[in-house]
């Protein structure tokens, strides 16, 4: 990655973990079948620690399935998948996850800070009262740090149903970060946002990645994040291609993957722009404005 100014959010411990040996995610000849249908097969990929990688491709090609497989929520039908050096599911406590989502109900009367806090201890039995003494203090500190990291201090005191979609997305990123994960999986986090919010959340995620967290983001439209990416996984009906964006995102590669003519252009500022995707961005930006 060059030419991108990343926010100075470096955490020494995270950098240390990021440079630990072995890739964050590695797949060899992996395949998944759901209900007798092969979603994808012969998938080979390697995502190194500290990278920001986008998973791209048309609808229905199995991008979310890949995320679920990484979380160990579904089994491979063939091949091998290693996540943080172990079977999928083993290190889930070190993974932050943002599912593809609708927004929260406007009437939901729970503060953003409480939603973030659930990311810390929501899976533990007991009453939602918090701990006592030092433990309570430590937990409050972790929650405050995560909220601070996404710049949502003012939002966190308001009921989450009352803040905007982009603001909810920030708080959910804080929730995913609150346990200081090594790996952050995000499923179309930019999809329901307007363009300025897409840009600011993309920059936020790039900053998180710079602090040593490996980020894998499923994206519908690559353009808002293209400048930050270290790697791209392109899933298509014709197979998958992985690698740095400049190598993967060529007109020939994408045309072969999608079975339809696609052009990758270089804009005057050096940015890559994908033209002729099966779903043009202008269409899916409107899709969520119900």
């Amino acid at each position: 990655m060059t030419g991108v100014d990343r926010a100075p959010m470096t955490r020494p411990d995270a950098i240390e973990r990021a440079t630990a040996a072995g890739p964050a995610i590695e797949a060899r000849h992996a395949a998944v079948r759901i209900g007798g249908r092969t979603v994808w097969e012969h998938l080979d990929l390697r995502i190194d620690r500290g990278e920001f990688v986008a998973v791209l491709g048309p609808n229905g090609v199995g991008k979310s399935t890949l995320i679920r497989a990484v979380l160990g929520l579904l089994q491979l039908s063939a091949g091998e998948l290693r996540v943080l050096g172990a079977r999928p599911g083993v290190h889930n406590s070190r993974i932050g996850y943002l599912p593809q989502r609708q927004t929260f109900d406007a009437g939901l009367r729970v503060r953003g800070a409480d939603v973030v806090r659930l990311g810390l201890d929501g899976d533990r039995w007991g009453l939602p009262l918090g701990g006592r003494g030092r433990r309570k203090h430590e937990q409050a500190q972790l929650v405050a740090e995560a909220i601070n990291q996404v710049g949502a201090e003012a939002l966190a005191e308001r009921p989450i149903g009352e803040v905007s979609g982009g603001e909810q997305q920030r708080l959910l990123i804080a929730q995913a970060l609150v346990r200081r994960p090594d790996l952050l999986l995000m499923d179309e986090p930019l999809d329901s946002l307007d363009l300025p919010n897409q840009a600011s959340v993309a920059a936020l995620v790039a900053g998180i990645c710079a602090s040593g967290v490996t980020v894998v983001m499923v994206a519908h439209d690559v353009n808002p994040i293209l400048g930050y990416l270290d790697g791209v996984v392109y899933l298509g009906p014709g197979g998958a291609i992985c690698g740095p964006p400049e190598q993967v995102m060529t007109s020939e590669n994408l045309t072969r993957l999608f079975h339809t003519p696609i052009e990758v252009l270089r804009a005057s500022d050096g940015r890559l722009v994908v033209v002729g995707q099966p779903e043009p961005p202008a269409f899916h930006a409107d899709r969520h404005s119900h």
Partner: protein, 275 residues
């Protein structure tokens, strides 16, 4: 007032019921499951009426039918994200049938006709020591269970997708909560009657969530409101000719409207300060 044993028992039962209704109702409102709660309440009516007809205590009718129907509702298949159009029509049919069956049992009983009123709209007369004990035991059990599952239940209620990914047993919690809700509804019905269950189950919880968005604080407010409303209603009902169900509902409604009004005033003031 407390010279009469029946009033002492009424206060005991009312206190127990208010606490458990507050806590379970708070989760019910948060989970948007008031419709399920309503169904459970209506199913309790034929249960109680049938039990009276068979010469058993109405208490067992409430508990038996409410718990069974909670399991039934939990077993209904549901679409992934809350779209329950088909389910709601099925539940509507069950509700109508439950009311009709209850009315039939009351007619078959041919006894004290005023019983219908008590079953539908509540009564605080003639609560026995044994009944108080049963209410207490069930309430303690339900509260203990909610104490254990409280935090993951909150997580699963606020955000089932992420909770699921984090290993929270979302489906199991949903079933467990419905059963606890069934038990709670059965308890509340015995004081407020089938049709006015929501006075204690929804209104205090809705009030608490209007006043505060902090889970612990709004839960505490909910229980406080439920207790205050119940005690006030018992006192007023003792000195007035009108039924307890009316007073509980009226007081709870007044507190809710008051909370809404206070919030509006506070917001307007905040806007004026900003402007």
């Amino acid at each position: 007032m407390f010279a009469y044993h029946f009033m002492v028992n009424a206060f005991r039962a009312g206190t127990i019921v208010a606490i458990v209704a507050g806590v379970a109702g708070w989760f019910m409102v948060l989970r948007r499951e008031t419709f399920a709660g309503h169904t459970l309440a209506l199913v309790g009516f034929p249960g109680a009426a049938g039990a009276v007809w068979l010469g058993i205590s109405a208490t067992w009718g409430y508990f038996g039918f409410c718990t069974a129907s909670a399991l039934l509702i939990a077993a209904l298949p549901r679409s992934a994200r809350g779209a329950r159009a088909e389910e709601s029509s099925a539940i509507g049919i069950v509700q109508a049938f439950a009311l009709a069956a209850g009315f039939l049992f009351v007619s078959l009983y041919r006894g004290y006709l005023n019983g219908v009123n008590a079953l539908l709209f509540g009564s605080f007369l003639g609560i026995t020591d044994a009944q108080v004990l049963v209410l207490l035991l069930v309430a303690v059990g339900a509260l203990a269970a909610l104490g254990v599952i409280g935090r993951p239940l909150l997580f699963a209620s606020v955000d089932p997708d992420i909770a699921d990914a984090r290993g929270v047993p979302v489906r199991l919690l949903s079933v467990a909560f419905l059963v606890l809700l069934g038990l709670t509804v059965a308890e509340v019905s015995q004081i407020t009657g089938t049709l006015l269950v929501f006075a204690l189950l929804v209104m205090p919880a809705a009030t608490g969530q209007v006043v505060s968005a902090r889970p612990v604080r709004s839960l505490a407010i909910t229980v406080g409101v439920a207790l205050a409303v119940t005690w006030a209603a018992l006192v007023v009902a003792y000195y007035s000719p009108y039924p307890i169900g009316f007073w509980v509902t009226t007081f709870a409604f007044a507190v809710y409207v008051g909370a809404l009004g206070a919030r509006r005033v506070r917001r307007r003031r905040a806007v004026m300060v900003v402007a």
